[in-house]
């Protein structure tokens, strides 16, 4: 008998996959939020590679948001995985730019590591996490509806959308139209 025909297996209101995707999207939001804290509270404007790492995290979050909105699918994990790989490559470039002995690195540190190093490590962690989530997807029965149905799922998606919009506004103010300064110290459109 094909167990997928048993209705009791598909009447689950939620699944571990649903919950973990919402939590993972929340973690992406936290990363973007921390970046904004350092930018707005401590005045550390993002450099071009920093902005691209933020874009990479957003690319990862888009895959997770697809899982929340449309239900858990392998293709959505593929989207998130591609985003994590892009983030990792960009972050690794910035790590290697400052790897020579005596190089003080760029920007603040957190737990002794620069943020591009933390971005590279979290991109690696994201790849590992997605590998586990894909195995979980094969193992457990899917939920009857996507995580979007819950208030928590909707709220986290809304937070993510707001953070993406904030990044757009911030980049326009910092760089205007065209490329950004390599070591930005002021917002181009604000003149300060």
């Amino acid at each position: 008998m094909n167990p997928s025909h048993l209705s009791s297996l598909r009447d689950r209101p939620t699944s571990a996959g649903n919950v973990l995707n919402v939590l993972a999207l929340l973690a992406v939001c936290a990363s973007l939020g921390i970046a904004f804290y350092y930018q707005l509270a401590l005045g550390e404007l993002p450099c071009p590679l920093c902005l691209l790492q933020r874009a990479g995290m957003i690319l990862t979050g888009i895959g997770l948001m697809m899982n929340v909105r449309f239900g858990v699918r392998a293709a959505h994990y593929g989207v998130a995985l591609a985003g994590a790989l892009a983030t990792g490559v960009i972050a690794l470039r910035q790590v290697l730019l400052h790897i020579a002995p005596g190089d003080a690195g760029y920007g603040s540190t957190f737990l002794g590591l620069h943020f591009y190093t933390l971005a590279a490590l979290s991109a690696l962690a994201a790849v590992a996490g997605i590998a586990l989530l894909l195995m979980l997807k094969s193992w457990e029965a899917p939920a009857s509806s996507p995580a979007w149905k819950s208030a928590g799922g909707k709220l986290v998606c809304l937070l993510f959308i707001l953070l993406v919009a904030a990044n757009l506004a911030s980049t326009v103010l910092e760089c205007g139209g065209g490329a950004c300064e390599d070591d930005p110290t002021y917002y181009l459109l604000l003149g300060k």
Partner: protein
Amino acid sequence: MFMYLPFLLALLAVVGIAIGWKAFAYAMWLGTLGVSLWWFAFHATSPLPLSF
């Protein structure tokens, strides 16, 4: 090419996801990835200070 373009396309993607436009969201995501990689290639031109 504008530095804000990845974030603009990403915003269109996430809004597309929210309103249920799946194919549109995929296209905007792909655009975001492409533009982000273009900007990476633009900025990653100087040689790395590595020696072997």
